[in-house]
Symmetry: D2
Subunit: 477 residues, 4 copies
Amino acid sequence: GSDSSNKRHVGPPLDTVLQSLGRIQNSKERAKVLFEWLIAPVQPDDFFRCIWEKKPALIRRHNLKYYDGFFSTSEFDRILREDNVQFGVNLDVTSYSNGVRETHNPPGRALPLVVWDYYKNGCSLRLLNPQSFSITVWNTLSVLQELFTSMVGANMYLTPPGTQGFAPHYDDIEAFVVQLEGKKRWRVYSPRNSLEMLPQFSSVNFNDGDLGEPILETILEAGDLLYFPRGFIHQGDCLPDEHSLHITVSSFQRNSWVDLLDKLLPAALQIAADDDVEFRKGLPLDYLDYMGVQNTASFNPRRENFIRKVQELMGKLAEYAPVDAAVDQKAKAFLHDCLPPVLTPAEVDCSVYGAPARWENGDVKECIIQLEKDTPIRFLRGGIARLCSNGEACLLYYTTENSRVYHQEAPKSIEIEAEHVEALEYLLHCYPQYVTVESLPCEDMDVKLAVATMLFEKGLLTTKERLTPLTSSRANY
Amino acid sequence: GSDSSNKRHVGPPLDTVLQSLGRIQNSKERAKVLFEWLIAPVQPDDFFRCIWEKKPALIRRHNLKYYDGFFSTSEFDRILREDNVQFGVNLDVTSYSNGVRETHNPPGRALPLVVWDYYKNGCSLRLLNPQSFSITVWNTLSVLQELFTSMVGANMYLTPPGTQGFAPHYDDIEAFVVQLEGKKRWRVYSPRNSLEMLPQFSSVNFNDGDLGEPILETILEAGDLLYFPRGFIHQGDCLPDEHSLHITVSSFQRNSWVDLLDKLLPAALQIAADDDVEFRKGLPLDYLDYMGVQNTASFNPRRENFIRKVQELMGKLAEYAPVDAAVDQKAKAFLHDCLPPVLTPAEVDCSVYGAPARWENGDVKECIIQLEKDTPIRFLRGGIARLCSNGEACLLYYTTENSRVYHQEAPKSIEIEAEHVEALEYLLHCYPQYVTVESLPCEDMDVKLAVATMLFEKGLLTTKERLTPLTSSRANY
Amino acid sequence: GSDSSNKRHVGPPLDTVLQSLGRIQNSKERAKVLFEWLIAPVQPDDFFRCIWEKKPALIRRHNLKYYDGFFSTSEFDRILREDNVQFGVNLDVTSYSNGVRETHNPPGRALPLVVWDYYKNGCSLRLLNPQSFSITVWNTLSVLQELFTSMVGANMYLTPPGTQGFAPHYDDIEAFVVQLEGKKRWRVYSPRNSLEMLPQFSSVNFNDGDLGEPILETILEAGDLLYFPRGFIHQGDCLPDEHSLHITVSSFQRNSWVDLLDKLLPAALQIAADDDVEFRKGLPLDYLDYMGVQNTASFNPRRENFIRKVQELMGKLAEYAPVDAAVDQKAKAFLHDCLPPVLTPAEVDCSVYGAPARWENGDVKECIIQLEKDTPIRFLRGGIARLCSNGEACLLYYTTENSRVYHQEAPKSIEIEAEHVEALEYLLHCYPQYVTVESLPCEDMDVKLAVATMLFEKGLLTTKERLTPLTSSRANY
Amino acid sequence: GSDSSNKRHVGPPLDTVLQSLGRIQNSKERAKVLFEWLIAPVQPDDFFRCIWEKKPALIRRHNLKYYDGFFSTSEFDRILREDNVQFGVNLDVTSYSNGVRETHNPPGRALPLVVWDYYKNGCSLRLLNPQSFSITVWNTLSVLQELFTSMVGANMYLTPPGTQGFAPHYDDIEAFVVQLEGKKRWRVYSPRNSLEMLPQFSSVNFNDGDLGEPILETILEAGDLLYFPRGFIHQGDCLPDEHSLHITVSSFQRNSWVDLLDKLLPAALQIAADDDVEFRKGLPLDYLDYMGVQNTASFNPRRENFIRKVQELMGKLAEYAPVDAAVDQKAKAFLHDCLPPVLTPAEVDCSVYGAPARWENGDVKECIIQLEKDTPIRFLRGGIARLCSNGEACLLYYTTENSRVYHQEAPKSIEIEAEHVEALEYLLHCYPQYVTVESLPCEDMDVKLAVATMLFEKGLLTTKERLTPLTSSRANY
């Protein structure tokens, strides 16, 4: 995965990229374009086919400014000054020297004077979830999450010259190391055995004796990118005369087949048991005589019959597996994990967020926004809402009221009345196309307007054009 | 399953049967003999092949005294007088008339005067778990549980003449209605559809409109037995001029394949995920676009691929299924559910329970019982103990310290040292044969004596002959 | 408190004493007579005036058989054999030698063979709450609790010759050491300082260095009694050639003024705050400037004002103290702590427990017991029930359905309807006099009969004469 | 308390007042000056002597602009637009018409379009805790809390013309209604009886039938203030042609003597019980015979003795009352309730918040701030920290890391080493005087510097002059 070319790779700055995304109608498309920029000149298709989950990749750009505007130590300094950054909650002070990994967090708020003093004394600084403090990081991750359909997170690492902040270890996420300032020497090692390939959980801290030879050793410079899959052990240290700042963008934590099956299997078993009396038949009267750990060495032929029967039933389970319902459970959790979208000016204008209703000169002005039967509408973005059934009711889960701070808000959903469900499915499938209110598959015009207005006022829809307010009020409550 | 013969069936009284069981070496064999008596003249093999879990069976004996000694209203009267029977906890006062099912439990202790007054006013009395109060019921159920390897429970029902105490319903257990006194008219109905065959859970109370025609209608008399599988709706009412007393012996609650799979599947998935990287690979980036309830109508070919992949992984699961470990989880729960054994005089004599150690004339006498290398030993009964692994340690679960009251005691187990495990397996498999201490597969004689003594003192072993006490004390503690 | 006389003290055996109690009408009187026997020839009045809570007392009787029938090692041996005695729950195996106090409890049931083996190896045996296993101990304690109006408990201690089972310590209860068999040397020490006089909580284990000279050193022999108040350090050890068995009867744990005030003060404060606006007035704006630990050295005159104001309000509290309600909280807790009564044959005969209602020859016989307007009734015993208010409702708490095992049952009470309250107060105050149903202060005869019947059926009343059953049934339910 | 003068009262705008506070050295003094402005031309001393907790007061200013800059409907509109205001959490939509009080909160975020639509339809809007959204409100309340030494809160109420949003009721706080825009008619009623004077808890909603005649009826105009104590019933409604906006500033919730006694009494009792054996003596043997609700009518002379004894002990309690420790419990709770301070530019400059340490040109600049022995220091503000003992350790509680959102952060404290305690007491008492590091009462200069540096870096101290950074780093960690 190493790129040995010496060609300088040039691209637009992130601000420009983010602005230009606004011109792309489909939010999923926006995610692809932004990811393309992140890993350019590697092509996303190539990346996902040859590299993703398989091996590390180094993208060297010979362009120190490629990631300018993403994040910087100056912004970190501003955050310390202006925001309530707490040691141990948002910021970790760490060191790794002579094989000893230490954490130095004092209690309470992390003020610049104290933080920078640690830094000057050789400690590394890890800012957790910089998206809570930086709008650009928030915007970037929230766009990318539509590509990964799995939470996209980030941590910032600032390392003083000549030091290392962390012991070698592997993580449980796919990691994109975005080098923003200075340089860092990285060493990446293959998973030590097949059990540690694409692991479900992160490793402990290793020491050098646990490691073999790195499969990749390089000095990452500002503007470069290093990717490695979960399970690949890695360590990074600074050269004697230069600090390093990078953000690791991560995704695919607990997002593998086993995580889906974990939700699927109990549901499949319950359906099978409800449906197929074979599952409800009693166990053999004598099974404890030949089954169980104390009988594993027994040659009783009934063991084989018993095991065969179990396998037969397990074989049948697949027929009953409610795959879509299990996917919805994963989807619900993902929508709760999501960052809320950072709206473009156009999105604001054509949604409830830009409605002109306001207080002016002692009264409310322009508070009547009326969707009409021929108003073209669509969901605000592709990934902000999803229709799931919880057995009884049909619920629309959505991300727009999530917090920038992970899980600070409870999962958000609204219950959808039966007569509105089809309209919602229609709107979800038509995205990114606009459709008129009239075209919604509902019984009559009143219902069409009601469902569209409800979604619009909830902030989930945009109109194609900015709506013009009326002058009289709606009916009494 | 109905027996229309008019022949009187004669058998030994229960007391005699229980006593004679003591002469049978193998406790599993005892269980079969007792069950044979319970359903005589039907043969157990026939019963389990043709009737069990399939259809009701009526065993008519024309012998009012067949079940004499099992339980009686007089014993119930004695229990009310002598034991702390609590309304709502141990005794329910119920009525079902004009389609209305009511419970009349006052708070507090159920004293005869009040209980009998309810009875005289037409209420039915249900004594829950009479095994907590009657030694014969306890003994009977504790023997039978070795046949069913599933908890065997019981309830007593006393119904005044001309009344009905319960609405038609079905249960989640296999039911043996043992008619002890008087008569009762029973109507049994087939499960209403395949979903209600061998159901996992009991039904609500039905009313007549929910039912079709009974497949069995009969007047059960003292000495008769009526069996029906879970899922068969039933109701019983008394004739105008005769009360009815019966005990329903039950088993196989939550003891079907689904209950085993419920424990097996999560374990199988975890093993598969640990072992096979296919399970740990990430989900497709775009799966939320075509999977989930909102996409069930979609014709995206990726849906099929996704579902096929899920099924393929589910298919692989069977290979990883730790069937024995899952059986052990069921076994542990069963051993906790078990009644403790009612020991025969011979069992007492040859176990720690009959050890002559005692206080006499101001001092302890005969407190040294020494197993010797040639002492023949075996487990007290076949079903009282079981060796299970809990991942780390090996534990011997046992029933002898359980309570007659359901789950009043926590599950009982002792951790078995690694060097003792093989000896325990040997002892468990040799049952009902006696083996000498010497023959235990342990490193040396000291260990053999230690493990045998530990089990003997714990009350889990019997010797073939009563041991003769020594005269000097064991070493200091 | 030591009795140096050499006169042999003779008294009736406990069985005779307990039987003769039945002839005493007032249960409180019974308690006094039994206590008189326990401490004879010391007079109860003298005891409570001069010794109780003040100093140890030794009652030497030169009569080894004085306490015969209370408890014995043989009965303990029988209990081990017949009852489910659990190590650590009901029985402790202890030793104290070379200044080291150890507990040797294995897990599980305590079977005689193992228990006696510990004993032979020099371990002491402490049976907790022998009242759960011995009817005589139960009977004795349940009678005495009416004297102490505080829970009366007991532990049994069996000590091998030449050993000591416990380190020196003091307890939080008044202790009556009843020597039953053998001999024990006791050393009792005064509280070490005023803080340890009548302490709220038991001490840690001391060693000899913590102790001064004993104020009492004696060899207690069977038939003797040793009393010492809480806070008096004590230790006992056996002579080389004789074992010791004693029961310590205890009372007055958490039964002092502080325990009452603990319930009283929050209630008093709430009433004062509701009633007197002075308590609800705001704190001074500036009180944090001169009050609080950081200002204790300050000479601000406002401190004095503030403290004076607090003291003034505290002084007012006494006026609002709901003493009776707080006493009732203590009383409720005591009634929950109480052992249920062991009924005399006469008590059984004239109460619901002896009602002749029974099953006979296939039907219920004599189930109609009717209180008449001239039936003389009274409470079964003086201390078995108490009327308390819980703010809203009036509740009758009672002890008759308590368990012999401490707090195995929840507190028992019945809510009393307003129109029945006066009748209950009347019945409670009339005890031990019998009164007719007619004399109850209720609106009409129906209510009088209803309240009397309810209490009778609940087992709380006795009639003066055994009631004769009627022949027809009561009205339908 | 009504002011009938027609004189226009002029004062400086709030912004100017707040700025000028920065020139006052003592933060307690600042609080007084700000409060003076709030209630001008009434004098604070007069107010607290004659009005506070006693009666309503109307301050009419004939100056619509008096409170300009405090808050406005325009700012509320901005908050809806920019902040995450949630219905039911931060904003309530209410109405009261025809005697019916309703709440109309939908779920989720409150967006302007929807909020203003409710308003146009006659609903009132209550913004809870506007200090979480408005810096000026935050600043104002955080200054005032030093005067009240009790949490100062606020709610905003916006009412459409011709409507009323709330039913008549009384609150459990002292209320300052600050009329900001429009007009509102207020009716205030005396507490209905002495039990409702200065009540501990708010009332239910009343209807007109519950009320008598108002003692104050007025039309409050912008620039006016209305004060009423807790317990005074009040209702306000808008005139037909004008909306109303006011903020109610509140304090003294649960800040009365009873709240202090609630913490004091259990502590006093425990100390008394530890110290005085009279409290630990046993209750009389027979107290249940004459005490308790069932004996209240009894004339037993022992009742009087018992009650007298209780009162005597309660009387003694005052001697043991740990008033300062109880005050500290209240103080801790108050410090947790406090808003963090809004720092003045000068406070920033001379504290760690203005330390020049920063990232610049790839490295940390000016990160060494060194307190010297002659550096004058003091606490940042008077009320931001307090030294309390928790029995074992000495803790400094502080407010500077609290959140603007009520109790979003846990209580903040640092444990103070024994050798630092005296220095802290000295610093706390010297406020607002500056003292040199050297003057701190510590063992040696190193300790003095350590404690001062610790407090400075924690953000709790200011220096008199801005500190000049050094150029080299502190010693290694």
